[in-house]
C-alpha cells in the first residue's frame, strides 16, 4: 500500500515537473519570439534614407558618358575589323598654320 502511495506520489511529481519544464520552455520561446518581433518592429520604424534631390540629374550625366563610351568602343571595334577603311591623319595645327 505504502509502495503504491509512494509510486503515485512520484508519478505525480514527475508529471508536475514535466508540466513546469514545458511551461518554462514555452515562456522562453515566447520571450525569444517577443524579442525577435520587437527588434524587427524597431528596425522597420527606422527613418528611410532617400536619394539626394539632384541624384537623378547626376545619374543622367553619368549615363550620357556611359553611352558615349559605348559608342566609342563600338566604333573602334568596327574600325578594327575594317582594315580597308583608313581615317585621315590628324592635322598638326602648329605645323600647318604657325
Amino acid at each position: 500500500m505504502k509502495k503504491d502511495t509512494y509510486h503515485t506520489h512520484l508519478n505525480k511529481e514527475q508529471s508536475c515537473f514535466s508540466e513546469y519544464r514545458q511551461k518554462a520552455h514555452n515562456s522562453e520561446s515566447m520571450i525569444f519570439n517577443y524579442s525577435s518581433k520587437n527588434i524587427a518592429q524597431k528596425l522597420s520604424k527606422l527613418p528611410t534614407i532617400k536619394a539626394k534631390p539632384n541624384f537623378e540629374k547626376k545619374m543622367a550625366a553619368l549615363f550620357a558618358l556611359e553611352l558615349e563610351n559605348e559608342i566609342h568602343t563600338r566604333n573602334s571595334e568596327w574600325l578594327n575589323h575594317k582594315k580597308s577603311i583608313k581615317l585621315p591623319e590628324l592635322i598638326d595645327l602648329q605645323k600647318e598654320f604657325l
Binding site: K42, S44, L46, I49, K50
Partner: protein, 202 residues
C-alpha cells in the same frame, strides 16, 4: 522615342521596362533609376552606414545594371537582380577597405597643446525627444556592428521588407540559412542595444 511611347514606358512593369532597355530604349534607364533610387539608398546606407560610400555604390549599381542588361532574365524579379548587384558591389567595396591601412589624425597625446575640439550641441531637445534620437542612433550603430552576413539579411528583411525567397535569391543562400541568420541577427542586435531602446520610443 516618341512621347507616347515614353508615357507607355512609365506604365510598364519593372521587368517590361528592362526588356525595352535591352531592346535599345535608353529612356528605360531613367525610369529604372527613378523607381529604385530611394530603395537602393536606404538599403546601401543601412548596410554601409556611410553616406558617401552609399551614393557611390548606388551610382555604380545603376551603371552595372545598364552594362549587364543583356544578362538579366525574367526568371527573377528585376528588384531581386538589382539588389544582388548592389549587395555584391557593397561587399567588394568593403573587402577593399578592410585591406587598406588607416592612420589616425587625432590629437597627438604626447603634445599637451594639441587637443581635440569638443563641439557642443547647442540645440536643446526635450528629454523624450533626445532619448528617441539617441535610441535610433544606438540601433543604427548596433546594426552596423553586426556580423556582415547577419546585417545583410536583417536589412533586407526588417528594413527593406523583402520576402524570404527574395532574400535567399539575393544572398545566394538557402531559405533555412536566411531564416536562421535573421533570428540570430535579431538576438545579437537585442543584446547590443540592451535596455537602452525603450519599446515605446520607436
Amino acid at each position: 522615342m516618341e512621347s507616347s511611347n515614353i508615357s507607355a514606358l512609365h506604365q510598364m512593369s519593372d521587368e517590361d521596362v528592362m526588356e525595352q532597355l535591352q531592346n535599345g530604349a535608353v529612356q528605360g534607364f531613367d525610369i529604372i533609376v527613378h523607381r529604385f533610387k530611394d530603395r537602393l539608398h536606404n538599403f546601401l546606407y543601412r548596410y554601409t552606414h556611410n553616406h558617401e560610400d552609399c551614393e557611390d555604390l548606388v551610382q555604380e549599381t545603376f551603371l552595372r545594371v545598364y552594362r549587364s542588361r543583356h544578362s538579366y532574365q525574367r526568371i527573377a524579379k528585376l528588384s531581386t537582380w538589382i539588389y544582388t548587384i548592389a549587395l555584391n558591389l557593397a561587399k567588394t567595396m568593403y573587402k577593399k577597405k578592410q585591406r587598406m591601412k588607416l592612420f589616425s589624425i587625432h590629437a597627438d597625446e604626447s603634445d599637451p597643446d594639441d587637443r581635440e575640439f569638443v563641439i557642443t550641441d547647442t540645440s536643446i531637445l526635450q528629454d523624450e525627444e533626445l532619448h528617441q534620437k539617441n535610441s535610433v542612433k544606438e540601433l543604427e550603430k548596433a546594426l552596423f556592428e553586426l556580423n556582415d552576413d547577419f546585417r545583410e539579411v536583417i536589412v533586407l528583411r526588417d528594413i527593406q521588407q523583402l520576402s524570404y525567397e527574395e532574400i535567399a535569391d539575393i544572398t545566394g543562400t538557402a531559405m533555412g540559412t536566411v531564416k536562421s541568420r535573421i533570428n540570430r541577427g535579431r538576438v545579437q542586435l537585442q543584446e547590443l542595444i540592451g535596455d537602452y531602446v525603450k519599446s515605446e520610443t520607436i
